[in-house]
């Protein structure tokens, strides 16, 4: 039974994470009436994660209080076609958020720009190395946007969020102490880098001695108080060690709450409805025009919100699922490679090294999500991929995000998991260990995609999204190469013992790896291989924009949020300056 339509909004936005909040800010600033529908609860700093109870490892890091309950929404998973996908009943490998602020509440704050070559990955590799370097089943492609086109929006995001870092390349001139491999930026970061604890300092010293170029991780945990261009003040980070998986009680981690909401909530043309779970994007009979969205409100009542513009800005999985459930775009068919929705799912390929020392005290409880030193020498471009035998790359880092003891109390190799020997080992090793990580790229390939599960349904009776994914052999070769070099830096730090956690297949949904799930509704210049055009506008429905990491055609090594923010701001700008003056396709098919 169709619900009575609610009065039409100029724009309805599905999801209030970084993407939805940034677009809501831009559109409402221009005077549009904006309604945001968020499936999770309302959350803000003072009411939901004040310092009084924010530092609660059990609640947030172990029981996942800021993550969407699988009872509400999950996916099914299998490694390859032919297997029966089974539901993820308990989150593990990744932690999709829900609630106001989305993943922007519980992220670590590691904020990157992708390299210029990342946006033209396929043509860059073909130009530099010829056809043989890309494996035949790998479906990496160019993004349809260049770094130079995106640069002003990276800049805008960094200044809204107050990112702490040091420039490595100012307008083409390399800067001492920053990342020499980054693309040129117009100006430096808005705030200086964070101060460093011992482990990242030692890592950087060892890396430098080996000829690498370490630099401080660009961070959304702010090094000093900062007032952003909207007049919102973000506080200084206290290095409390409760960042990833936690909300910040200090107003010092950039999030939709700390950077945007104080302005948004004063605007009469902005409305945020939480507990509002979207069921479907409704379209006009010709299928070419979105009329609004059907959703279930916090009381379980079905609603129909009409809108002139629909912005789909949920997490990667729900973006793809809502397109499939709404019948928008041709679903990808892995048998012949036709179709686009669900195509080019990619992930992140990670590994780590654990170091144990006899006497050196690292105080691992001091930390922040983006506190650390990074080496970017082993990343994608400028390397001889034909000789290496893989494409892509990784960055290496010593991040100190907080030694919270339920999940982070490593002991030396050979230690039992319990009993007196374990107790002595954990008492010795907790303060005296340091961990290093490699974060590597992920190619998109024919064996990795998203579609609707044939069996499992959610509590509304709608089909769950199904993920078919395994690491491509290219990525396992790439991460092994990076892990060997990470271990080399670790060895140079002269630990008493070292454990190398290599990444091997098959991919498992169980151990946490990364919440950087990308693709499935990818952007590009060609409607045969993309769901949205380079402005993130649907090729099929001109008044629908699909925003988020679902638009990445493959995944570089870097954390996605900086690019997610920049792409959202660029899409908002395109809506205001190109679409609204002349509604219709911004690129003709």
């Amino acid at each position: 039974m169709p619900a009575e339509p609610l009065p039409a909004a100029d724009a309805v936005i599905i999801g209030f994470g970084w993407s939805g909040a940034l677009i809501a800010e831009a559109l409402s600033a221009a005077g549009l009436g904006v309604v945001v529908l968020e499936r999770g609860p309302y959350r803000d700093t003072a009411s939901d994660f004040p310092p009084g109870f924010a530092p609660d490892e059990l609640r947030y890091a172990v029981r996942h209080d800021l993550v969407v309950p699988t009872a509400q929404n999950t996916i099914t998973f299998r490694n390859r076609a032919g297997q029966t996908a089974l539901p993820v009943r308990q989150w593990g490998s990744f932690l999709p958020a829900s609630g106001a602020g989305g993943g922007g509440v519980h992220w670590n704050g590691q904020t990157w720009r992708f390299r210029p070559s990342d946006f033209v990955l396929r043509s860059h590799l073909l130009d530099a190395h010829g056809h043989g370097v890309i494996p035949g089943d790998v479906t990496i492609q160019d993004w349809g946007v260049t770094y130079a086109e995106l640069e002003p929006f990276y800049d805008r995001f960094e200044y809204l969020a107050g990112i702490s870092g040091r420039a490595g390349n100012l307008r083409g001139r390399l800067q001492q102490g920053g990342n020499p491999f980054e693309g040129p930026r117009q100006r430096d970061y808005p705030t200086p880098p964070m101060r460093m604890t011992l482990a990242p300092t030692r890592f950087a010293d060892a890396a430098r001695a080996l000829g690498y170029h370490p630099f401080p991780q660009p961070s959304a945990n702010l090094s000093e108080p900062y007032t952003n261009p909207l007049g919102v003040v973000i506080g200084p980070c206290s290095y409390c060690g409760f960042c990833e998986r936690f909300g910040c009680g200090n107003y010092s981690k950039a999030s939709p709450q700390t950077a945007l909401m104080p302005v948004l909530r004063r605007r009469p043309n902005f409305a945020l409805r939480t507990g509002a779970e979207v069921l479907e994007i409704a379209r006009a009979p010709d299928g070419r025009h979105a009329r609004g969205v059907r959703y279930v409100d916090a009381d379980g009542v079905e609603r129909y919100q009409r809108a002139e513009l629909v912005i789909l800005a949920a997490y990667t999985f729900e973006n793809v699922r809502l397109l499939l459930l709404s019948g928008i775009g041709q679903p990808y068919d892995p048998r012949d490679g036709s179709g686009v929705v669900g195509r080019n799912y990619a992930y992140q390929t990670t590994a780590s090294v654990q170091l144990f020392f006899d006497d050196t005290r690292f105080n691992p409880f001091i930390g922040a999500g983006a506190l650390g030193m990074v080496v970017d020498d082993l990343n994608a471009d400028g390397r001889d991929h034909a000789r290496l035998g893989f494409i892509g790359g990784a960055h290496l880092a010593a991040m100190q995000s907080g030694g919270r003891p339920i999940l982070s109390r490593p002991t030396r190799p050979g230690t039992p998991r319990w009993g007196g020997a374990w107790k002595h080992a954990v008492a010795r090793d907790y303060l005296r260990n340091a961990s290093l990580g490699a974060s590597g790229s992920s190619v998109s390939h024919r064996g990795a995609w998203l579609d609707l599960d044939p069996t499992y349904r959610d509590r509304h009776g709608r089909r769950l999204l199904r993920m078919t994914f395994d690491f491509h052999a290219n990525d396992l070769r790439m991460i092994q190469h990076a892990t060997d070099r990470l271990a080399g830096i670790g060895r140079a730090m002269e630990p008493a013992a070292m454990v190398v956690n290599e990444r091997r297949g098959p991919y498992s949904i169980v151990p946490y790896q990364s919440t950087h799930n990308v693709g499935g509704a990818v952007m590009g210049p060609d409607p045969a291989t993309s769901v949205v055009n380079p402005w993130l506008q649907s090729w099929d429905v001109a008044n629908l924009f699909v925003v988020g990491a679902s638009s990445f055609p493959q995944n570089p090594s870097y954390n996605p949020t900086g690019t997610v923010g920049a792409l959202a701001l660029r899409a908002a700008n395109a809506i205001l300056t190109r679409y609204l003056p002349s509604p219709g396709p911004l690129v003709s098919r």
Binding site: D48, F53, D56, A71, V88, R89, S238, I406
Partner: protein, 235 residues
């Protein structure tokens, strides 16, 4: 009896959840501050179950010259309160059928809640001990024998009738460590025994003065979100 009730409750929830159609959002704790666990009688465990579990947690984390063991640290009380709450009932988990055995890479697929699994494993352990040790309960065995049994369950050489003994061991070990290292407000980590053992300062929330004091021992004692032992009796 309690086990059966918990099982019936979870199947009733399953049946409810299987109905298609609009449903309100699954409740999330949202802005509610955590409720402090108060000492007192066990709420989920029977006295016999509690005696066995206290013995288990005291072998997983034995008392020694470094400090209290799992029993004194309140690990069994922590587990009791967790099993009596939303975690014990798998309240936030997807529990719609069909339940199929998958690959290890596909993650846990059991319809059984932690409360049901933990109880079943304790019962199977008691049954085994009473048969193997002429009527003696696990808690009445010498520590060396308890350690041997736990090791054999951990490595899969000792099977327990009717339960996945290794998975049960993993659940108990996970929850014991949670109880030892979680904030004391949840009933474990009493007197901050876990945090003191390793030198974790707890919910201090501000280390700006310590970031660049490399290699220096942190000077302040641990504090929890409910304060610290000595501030009040409940420590």
């Amino acid at each position: 009896m309690r086990g059966r009730r918990a099982w019936l409750t979870s199947t009733a929830l399953l049946a409810l959840a299987a109905c298609a159609g609009p449903n309100p959002p699954v409740p999330q704790a949202g802005s509610t501050p955590p409720q402090a666990v108060l000492p007192g009688p066990y709420q989920f465990l029977t006295l016999a179950e509690a005696a066995a579990l206290e013995a288990v947690v005291d072998r997983l984390i034995p008392p020694d010259e470094l400090g209290p063991g799992g029993r004194e640290a309140g690990c069994a009380l922590f587990i009791d309160r967790q099993l009596a709450g939303p975690f014990g009932r798998s309240e936030s988990l997807y529990l719609l059928p069909p339940f199929l055995d998958g690959t290890p890479e596909q993650g846990p697929q059991s319809p059984l809640t932690p409360a049901v699994r933990l109880r079943a494993g304790l019962a199977a352990l008691e049954t085994y001990c009473r048969a193997a040790f002429v009527g003696r309960a696990f808690a009445a065995l010498p520590p060396t024998v308890q350690d041997r049994l736990l090791s054999e369950i951990e490595d899969g050489t000792l099977a327990l009738a009717g339960v996945n003994a290794r998975a049960w061991f993993d659940l108990v070990l996970q929850m014991t460590m949670e109880g030892f290292f979680a904030d004391p407000i949840y009933g474990g980590n009493r007197q901050m025994a876990g945090w003191r053992l390793i030198g974790f300062p707890g919910a201090r929330y501000d280390y700006r003065d310590w970031v660049e004091r490399h290699g220096v021992a942190y000077a302040l004692p641990p504090v929890g979100i409910g304060g610290r032992p000595g501030w009040h009796d409940a420590g």
